[in-house]
Structure formats: structure tokens, C-alpha cells
């Protein structure tokens, strides 16, 4: 089964149950609908970083990154690339519309949207990595607010640093929920000695919910 569909199934809590033809078709239909109607957007920007006692200062912005996990993630890096991406309000509207009339379809669309934004971010990350390689630099995997001990409260500052509201219509509520809902903010370290391996992130083994999560990846 192709990668994106198996990811959608993972978000639906699939663990090798028997899939009827109708359900299979419904999932395919929802994936197609999501890709047809939704246009993902992103904005990214590279900043220099300064490792200070108070945290990692993102030069030229008001952002200061705190915590041990981001420190080890950005070890060896001279820059950080900030990324914000969103599927836009269309994805939310589509899901909300079906919540009223066909909740199963809404659930599947929700999973498709989650998969789509992640796939889109993977794609953008790969482009950024290729650009970095051309400059003989390495790029770490993405690391988002909320991973490990990187606090969520830097969301508004990341958005402001990227002018994300104006550029891609991405906002953040007072409770730090990104809206539109299917959105991602992430940081990637860039530098000659940046650690490119996924050993410590984007990986279920390093997540704090690994013991209770029902959406774990079965392979590492």
C-alpha cells in the first residue's frame, strides 16, 4: 500500500483490520477530495542563532528557544530555519461540513488532512535540505513547539517572525491553537555540523506519549 494511504490509516487507528471495499473506496475518495480542493501554503525564513545562557537567541527576531531538547537538536548549527505551513480554511470547512451529515467521512477527511499537511511539510523540508546541501550545509529534521520540552508558548513569536498571518493567513488563538487547524510550525537547524538523523525526533521512540499513544508507527 502506498505511503500516504498507510499514514491516513495510521491516523485512523488502523492495525490490520479487514478493510471492506466500500470503506477502502471512501478513504480513497476522501484523499482525492482533500488533494483536489485544498491548496497548502508555507512561508520560511532563515535566521542566525546565538547560544546564550537564557536560551538560543534567534537573531533578528524576538524569539528565544528554551529547553534541553531544542539545545541538543540545534547542536552544531549556525542558523535556524523557521517554517510555517497550512492547508488553509478550506480543509477545516470541508471537515466541518461533513461533521453535520456524515461523521465517518468527516473523521476520514480529518485524517487525510493531517496526512496531507505532514506530507507537504516533508516536501518543503526536502527542498530546504537540497538547498542547504548546495551550500555544503546540513539541515536537521523538523522540530516543533510542543515536542519534548520546547514550550508551546513560542507559537505567536514564530508566526510573527515569519509574518505568517499576512503571508499564509495563519493565526494562533490565546490558547495557542493554530488556526486554520491543519497547520504546522517547525524549526530546523542549519549548519556544517547539523545533525541530520531522525534518531531523536520525528520518531515515535523519542516521544513522551510513546507508552499510551494509539497512533504509533509500527516500524521505527
Amino acid at each position: 500500500m502506498e505511503q500516504s494511504k498507510s499514514e491516513v490509516l495510521r491516523y485512523l487507528g488502523f492495525s490490520n483490520q479487514e478493510l471492506s471495499q466500500e470503506l477502502n473506496n471512501l478513504i480513497d475518495e476522501c484523499m482525492a477530495m482533500m488533494h483536489e480542493e485544498v491548496k497548502p501554503r508555507h512561508v520560511c525564513r532563515t535566521f542566525g542563532i546565538d547560544f546564550k545562557k537564557t536560551g538560543i537567541e534567534v537573531i533578528g527576531s524576538i524569539l528565544v528557544l528554551q529547553g534541553d531538547d531544542i539545545l541538543s537538536h540545534l547542536a552544531g548549527c549556525s542558523n535556524v530555519v523557521l517554517l510555517a505551513a497550512t492547508l488553509g480554511v478550506t480543509a477545516d470547512t470541508l471537515i466541518r461540513r461533513y461533521e453535520g451529515v456524515d461523521i465517518t467521512r468527516a473523521l476520514i477527511l480529518d485524517a487525510c488532512a493531517t496526512q496531507y499537511i505532514e506530507e507537504y511539510c516533508d516536501h518543503v523540508e526536502e527542498e530546504l535540505r537540497n538547498d542547504a546541501t548546495k551550500c555544503k550545509l546540513k539541515l536537521t529534521p523538523r522540530f516543533s513547539p510542543g515536542y519534548g520540552d520546547l514550550p508551546l508558548n513560542i507559537q505567536p513569536e514564530i508566526l510573527a517572525a515569519l509574518d505568517a498571518e499576512k503571508r499564509i493567513g495563519l493565526t494562533c488563538t490565546g490558547n495557542l491553537i493554530l488556526l486554520p487547524r491543519k497547520s504546522v510550525t517547525a524549526l530546523m537547524g542549519q549548519g556544517e555540523h547539523a545533525i541530520q538523523s531522525r534518531k531523536n525526533c520525528g520518531n515515535c521512540k523519542s516521544c513522551s506519549k510513546r507508552d499510551t499513544c494509539s497512533f504509533k508507527r509500527t516500524q521505527s
Binding site: 525564513r45 524576538i62 480554511v89 491553537i177
Partner: protein, 804 residues
């Protein structure tokens, strides 16, 4: 400031960018430029002065984000705004504009800010601006027309300053929320702005298709403040590549087509403005003719009355519809949403919404219903009520320019409704009746139409916004008058040039085979020139006639849709007038073959949700409804639930089974409603996603499963204020409350909600769930029960009520 007078003589020049200029002077992205008004006003004044010296007539004060949502607690709106206006004033500008940007938060239903909250935030900023001495208000960079509406109303209702509003569009010609230039133009001028247009995002040439559409349909001056090109990020700097010459060349092309107000947005500098001033100094503004159209809009779509027969769906009306009455009384959104979507999918382009019941708070219910419908469909809405206060409340919160249904020839009714239509840019259905009733002749109806038009002109409502309803009486009671309606339509169109609309179904009241009379009359009315028909889009007879009309009317080009639909189908010949039993048997017989003889247990277990209804109809021939619930639904659900817990089914499969039961319940409930049988009312459970959290799909799944098991679920929705949970718990006298939250940041709300209910001394237990929760968090918030998934929630509810 007399904007109109100024624009008669010259092009008005606004200043260029402030934000990008400040960033070049060292402002970091993320820092609020507005605070410089207080911390370093000299630097702000310097930039303003540079623009004044370059020739700008109007300086936009540094107040773009000067509202309470961005300023927070540290600085008051009034201080920042008045400091900003002062800086601008000191620069020597001829005119100072209060610059108002978007709130930075999404409005409902996409986000958590209500229309009313947005209005109040803008209101405060606007009043501060006028008090500080601003000459005009410019609302800019708005992506959401709903937000634009809140801002424009706030400006017009609380100040007497001229109001300009410009929206921001992406390269695909739409805003981030999908609004197109035509819809933006209709809405903004409907609300009475003094000028409208576009700013930001891209350079002038990329904006030209958008500007041209606005120029074509705008009845007020058009504004453009483009970026100095598309922003390109290199490393950590953002570049705007258009030089002053390139920028101005592109802008002038559009000035020559009729743009009257120009300036610059991100990336522009005093050099850009200087050149703009030089090239426009001796120019007299071009005044293109505006194309007059009759149009209503939603937030993202415009429906133009331009020759096609517009279908207005009539089904959202409680008159004679028990199910809808029940849905309105219960606050059952699902029913409303279902009807709305079914009608639009069947072909309705506009939806009539009426909630007129004697025992409800009509304005409040109408507002709630319209917010629900506009959240799921982009079809414009026709707001239908006899109560002007309901019309006003609904038109106010409506996202777009609605149709108001209706007013008539009585002076007091016109005086009550015309101002509402004027304020909100609505089209109006005008009934040709007055104090003397409905005139028996076409001439009589024409006279009333003429009178209504004259009064509309006194209210400065343009002719094209009137939809004349010549009224159709029932053929069975006033047969000779049916022809008068058709004649009246012809006369209204020929002699007054006004659009016409008609509620067709009335004509057949009391006669058999109503659909035949209705659809024939519809064809006749179309022949007389009817522009819009209020009908039931789900009626097969209407559908056939409309499909044919679309061919005859040259709408369905080359009859492509018609041929695709009818080339291979057989006309359905089941007689319309049959007894209910006969109908059920026929359906059951048909269903029997379709289901291949599966039992209800099997249908539910296999999640065949489209087959339950027919099977339940079949079983109802021999069993009472409650037996089916207890002996069929519950065992099937239990079996499905166990298989889910064991991992034999995953969530979508569980839900298909639950939907199957839900569809069965719809049939059961309809049967019990018609026989007046009362079921045992289930135990009540209150559900809510807590304040500040907008994730509710999990909660909705739990709701569906609980209802399957016969619980009476009161769903308060999402982002539910704490007080509302407390008052609902009191009013409904519930013993179990389910709360959901998805984020660590909203777990706090959960704790506060539970504390508030405990403080109110209510005897309630709490069941909590959501992705962020676990046993530990459940204890932290003070809940008795933690549900790890939807089925667990059901099991807990069952145990709770069985153990007392």
C-alpha cells in the same frame, strides 16, 4: 473631509509602507511597530514626514494592530491610537487616516472570535481614532469578508468619519478564506463604505484582474495599494523588487482605467510615492460606468440575477413540518445542516431560512440557525421572518448581503424593513399587498409594486435590489386570479424593469397531485419572465421541469447536463398519492432485494448505514419501535463495541455501525412522532468541548454512540464558556457531564469548568476525554471518570446510570 468632492478633481495619494520602513530602521519581526508611537515617536514621525514631502495627501497612522487583542494588557488602545494619530498629525499631512488592520484571529466558525466580539474590538479602536482627531478610517489587509463587515459596521455606527475598506487577495484571485473580488465589492458597497479596493500581497500588475472586476461593479471609488512586487525571502531578509518606475508604471495603467485612490503597501518607499504623485498631479479621475446587477452574496459566493431562473430552496421552514419544529425546539443542528446541504446539492442556489414558531425567541433562534447554515454552505441566504427585530438581528450577523423576505405595501412595514435592507445591503422580497389586502387584478399588484419602488427610492435603495413577489393564490379557492399573477409578473418587468420572485407551492394547496400543478405553474411563470422561484429543490417533479427550463433558457449549454442525466434513465412512475402502509411495503420490498436478505443485526454489524432505514421500516410492520431498539439495536451495538475493544474493528468501522444505528433511529423517531407514542426518555448527559478549545470531532463521535444507546445527549458544542456549562447543567438537571479537550493549554479550562459546577452545588459527576488526557490529568482537573476512547465513554455512562 469630503472624500467625494476631493475625488471629483484629483487622484488621492496615500502614503507607502510603514512596517517595512521600520524594519529597515531596525524593528525586529515580531515586535509591535505600534508601540513605537509611545516609545520612539520621533522615528515614526520621520517616516510620515518623508511621505508627506514626497507628496502623499493622506498619511496612515501607525495604528494597524492598535487593538486590544494585539496590545494585550500592557498598553491601552486609546494611548497607542492617540499617540499614533499625533505622530501623523505632526508630520504635516493634509489628512490623517486611522489605519485598522485585521484582528489576527479567525472569526467563527473557523475560529474562536464571535462576530460580536470582533465588532466590539474594532469599535473601541475606531472611537479612539475619531477622538484623537483622525480625518478618515482605512480598514485594510482584510482576508475575511465577515471580519470586514464587523469593522465597517463598527466604523459607521460609532463614528462619522469616511470609511475606506480594502481587502487582500492572493495570486489565485481569492482571499485566504476564498472570497472573490465581485463578492467583496458587492458586500463592501452594500455596507455603505465610501471607497473600496485591494491592498498588499502582490504587485500592481498581479492585482489588475482583481482591480478590473472591482472597477466594473463598484458604485463607489476604487482604491489600490499594492506591494512593491511579490515578497521574496532570501536568507533572513525579505525583498520587494519593483523599483519606483516599475511600480508606478503598473499602477498608472490601472489609474487610467478608473482607480481613484492609490498608495503603496509592503516594500514601497517615499521614492515610490513621489513618482506616483508626479504622474497623477495633473490627471482628472476617470469615472468608468458601473455595471448594474441584482446580486446577493454569502462570504465566498455571489449569485447574480442575470437571466437564469434562480432556485431558492424553501425547506428550512417549520410551517407544517413536525420534524423541523422539533429540531428547532431541541436545538438540533444536524437536521438543519442536513436540509441545507441536501437542498444545495439538489440545485438550490439560495436558501430561504425561516424559524417562525410562536413559542420560541425568534431573533435568537434565527441568528443561531443562520450562523449554523452559513458555516456549512456558501449559498447565499434569504432571511425569512415577519418580525423586523428578527430580520435585523439576522441580517446583522449574516456573512454577506442577504435577501430579506419580506416587506409589503403597508407603510409601517416598509418603514420597519427598508432601513434594515439599506444598512446591510440586502435584496428585498416585496409582496404586492397592502392595507386593503391582495389586489385581485394584475394592475392592482403593479400599482403596489410601483408604490414600493417609490418608497424604496426615498430610502436610497436602488431599484435593482427589489424582488417583486406578485403573490400566487390557491387555484382551488381563487382560480380566476392565478392568471393575474402571471400577467402581473409581465407588467412589473416591462413597466418597472424590476426583478420578480414567487413562492410557487401555494398555487396547488388543496388539490391532488400538487406537484403537477406546481411545476406547470412554474413553467408558466418562467414564461412570463420570473427571475427567481422559491420551491422545494428535492421534489423530483420540480427537478425535471427545472432541468428542462435550463435547456430552453440557454443556461445548460448544449444540454450537456440534461443529456447526461436523462439519456439512460427511466421515468419514475410510482403514483404520488398512496397510503403510508402501501408506501412502506413497496419500499421494504425494494429494500429486501437490495439488502440481499440481511438481518438488521448483520446490516448494523457490517456498517451498511444506507440500508438500515429501509430494514427498520420493514420490521416496523410487525414490531413496536421500542422492541426494535432493545432487541436489535442494542445487541448489535454491544457486539460491535466488543469487537472494537478487541481491535477487530478500527474507528471508522465502529462509526459506520453507529451511523447505521443512527439512521435506524431516525425512522423510529419519525414513527413515534407520527403516532404520538412517547418513548422512555433516556438519561440525560451534557457534553461540551471546553472554553478555548475548538476540537470537537471526538466529542461528536461520543455523542453519536451515546445516542445510539438511548441516552438523551445535550450537546453544547465547542469553545463553551464556563458559565454556559453551569447554567445548562442547572436547567437540564443533569447528573453526568462529559468534557473534552485536546490541548494542554485548555486542560486548565476543564479544571475551571468542573470547579464552577461544584461551586454551584450541583450534583454532577464528570467524565473527561480527549487526546491530551490521561488518568493523571483527569485527577488533576477533578473528574471522577476518564474515558480513553469513545466506547469507553459509553461503558462508563452505562455503568454510572445503572449503579445510580
Amino acid at each position: 473631509m469630503d472624500l467625494k468632492k476631493i475625488l471629483n478633481d484629483r487622484i488621492l495619494i496615500f502614503d507607502g509602507a510603514m512596517g517595512t520602513m521600520l524594519q529597515q530602521s531596525g524593528l525586529k519581526p515580531g515586535e509591535l511597530p505600534e508601540l513605537l508611537n509611545l516609545e520612539n515617536p520621533a522615528i515614526v514621525e520621520k517616516i510620515h514626514r518623508a511621505y508627506v514631502e514626497a507628496g502623499a495627501d493622506v498619511v496612515s497612522a501607525n495604528t494597524f494592530q492598535a487593538h486590544e487583542l494585539k496590545l494585550g494588557k500592557k498598553n491601552s488602545v486609546e494611548d497607542v491610537v492617540s499617540a499614533g494619530i499625533d505622530c501623523a498629525r505632526r508630520s504635516g499631512a493634509t489628512y490623517v487616516a486611522l489605519d485598522v488592520g485585521p484582528l489576527g484571529q479567525l472569526l467563527e466558525p473557523m475560529g474562536t472570535i464571535s462576530f460580536e466580539t470582533a465588532y466590539n474590538v474594532f469599535k473601541r479602536q475606531m472611537i479612539a481614532g475619531e477622538n484623537a482627531g483622525a480625518d478618515l478610517i482605512i480598514i485594510e489587509t482584510v482576508s475575511d469578508p465577515y471580519e470586514a463587515k464587523a469593522a465597517v459596521l463598527a466604523a459607521k455606527e460609532n463614528t462619522s468619519l469616511p470609511v475606506i475598506c480594502t481587502m487582500t487577495f492572493q495570486e489565485d484571485g481569492r482571499t485566504f478564506v476564498g472570497c472573490d473580488p465581485l463578492t467583496a465589492t458587492i458586500l463592501l458597497q452594500g455596507l455603505g463604505v465610501d471607497a473600496l479596493g485591494v491592498n498588499c500581497s502582490v504587485g500592481p500588475e498581479a492585482l489588475s484582474p482583481i482591480v478590473r472586476t472591482m472597477l466594473q461593479y463598484a458604485k463607489v471609488p476604487v482604491v489600490m495599494q499594492a506591494n512593491a512586487g511579490m515578497p521574496v525571502i532570501r536568507g533572513d531578509k525579505t525583498h520587494y523588487h519593483l523599483s519606483a518606475e516599475e511600480y508606478v508604471t503598473e499602477v498608472m495603467a490601472l489609474v487610467r482605467q478608473g482607480v481613484k485612490i492609490v498608495g503603496g503597501c509592503c516594500g514601497t518607499t517615499p521614492a515610490h510615492i513621489r513618482m506616483l504623485k508626479e504622474q497623477t498631479t495633473l490627471l482628472r479621475p476617470v469615472c468608468p460606468d458601473s455595471t448594474i446587477i441584482t446580486a446577493c452574496t454569502s462570504g465566498t459566493k455571489t449569485v447574480v440575477f442575470d437571466g437564469a431562473l434562480i432556485e431558492i430552496g424553501e425547506r428550512l421552514n417549520p410551517t407544517g413540518k413536525k420534524k423541523m419544529q422539533q429540531a428547532l425546539r431541541d436545538g438540533d443542528n444536524a437536521f438543519i445542516i442536513d436540509e441545507a446541504i441536501a437542498q444545495t446539492e439538489a440545485g438550490a442556489r439560495v436558501l430561504d431560512v425561516n424559524v417562525g414558531l410562536p413559542d420560541i425567541d425568534e431573533p435568537a433562534v434565527l441568528v443561531k440557525t443562520i450562523k449554523t447554515v452559513q458555516g456549512v454552505t456558501n449559498a447565499p441566504i434569504q432571511i425569512d421572518s415577519a418580525d423586523p427585530s428578527a430580520l435585523n438581528a439576522a441580517a446583522r450577523i449574516y456573512n454577506g448581503c442577504p435577501i430579506i423576505n419580506s416587506l409589503n405595501g403597508k407603510q409601517d412595514v416598509m418603514d420597519a424593513v427598508f432601513p434594515i435592507a439599506k444598512k446591510y445591503g440586502a435584496l428585498i422580497v416585496c409582496l404586492t399587498l397592502d392595507e386593503n389586502g391582495i389586489p385581485p387584478t394584475a394592475n392592482g399588484r403593479l400599482a403596489i409594486a410601483r408604490r414600493i419602488r417609490d418608497v424604496a427610492r426615498d430610502y436610497e435603495i436602488p431599484d435593482e435590489n427589489l424582488l417583486i413577489d406578485c403573490l400566487v393564490l390557491t387555484a382551488s379557492a381563487q382560480q380566476s386570479q392565478v392568471k393575474e399573477t402571471l400577467l402581473a409578473i409581465r407588467m412589473v418587468k416591462a413597466e418597472l424593469g424590476l426583478k420578480t420572485v414567487l413562492g410557487v407551492s401555494n398555487v396547488s394547496f388543496g388539490l391532488p397531485k400538487r406537484e403537477l400543478i406546481n411545476s406547470t405553474f412554474l413553467s408558466a411563470a418562467y414564461g412570463a419572465g420570473l427571475d427567481a422561484a422559491i420551491i422545494n429543490p428535492l421534489s423530483p417533479e420540480y427537478r425535471r421541469v427545472l432541468d428542462a427550463i435550463r435547456v430552453l433558457n440557454n443556461e445548460d449549454k448544449n444540454a450537456v447536463a440534461y443529456i447526461e442525466k436523462y439519456a439512460n434513465s427511466e421515468i419514475d412512475t410510482i403514483a404520488a398519492a398512496v397510503s403510508p402502509t402501501h408506501c412502506a411495503t413497496a419500499k421494504a420490498a425494494a429494500a429486501g432485494t437490495a439488502t440481499g436478505g440481511l438481518t438488521l443485526f448483520e446490516i448494523i454489524s457490517q456498517g451498511r448505514k444506507d440500508q438500515t432505514a429501509a430494514k427498520v421500516e420493514e420490521l416496523l410492520l410487525n414490531s413496536p419501535p421500542l422492541d426494535i431498539v432493545n432487541n436489535e439495536f442494542i445487541p448489535a451495538l454491544n457486539s460491535v463495541g466488543q469487537r472494537f475493544e478487541k481491535g477487530e474493528l478500527f474507528l471508522p468501522q465502529l462509526m459506520l455501525c453507529a451511523q447505521a444505528v443512527q439512521n435506524g433511529f431516525t425512522v423510529i423517531k419519525a414513527r413515534m412522532l407520527s403516532t404520538g407514542e412517547k418513548g422512555q426518555s433516556g438519561e440525560k448527559i451534557l457534553l461540551a468541548t471546553v472554553q478555548g478549545d475548538i476540537h470537537d470531532i471526538g466529542k461528536n463521535i461520543v455523542k453519536m454512540l451515546l445516542e445510539n444507546y438511548g441516552f438523551d445527549v445535550i450537546d453544547l458544542g465547542k469553545d463553551v464558556p464556563i458559565e454556559r456549562v453551569v447554567s445548562a447543567a442547572k436547567d437540564h438537571d443533569v447528573r453526568l457531564i462529559g468534557l473534552s479537550s485536546l490541548m494542554t493549554t485548555t486542560v486548565k479550562s476543564m479544571k475551571e469548568t468542573i470547579a464552577a459546577v461544584r461551586d454551584a452545588k450541583l450534583d454532577c459527576a464528570f467524565l473527561v476525554g480527549g487526546a491530551v488526557l490521561n488518568e493523571e490529568y483527569a485527577k488533576f482537573v477533578g473528574a471522577e471518570y476518564y474515558a480513553k476512547d469513545a466506547m469507553d465513554g459509553v461503558a462508563i455512562a452505562n455503568r454510572f446510570f445503572n449503579n445510580g
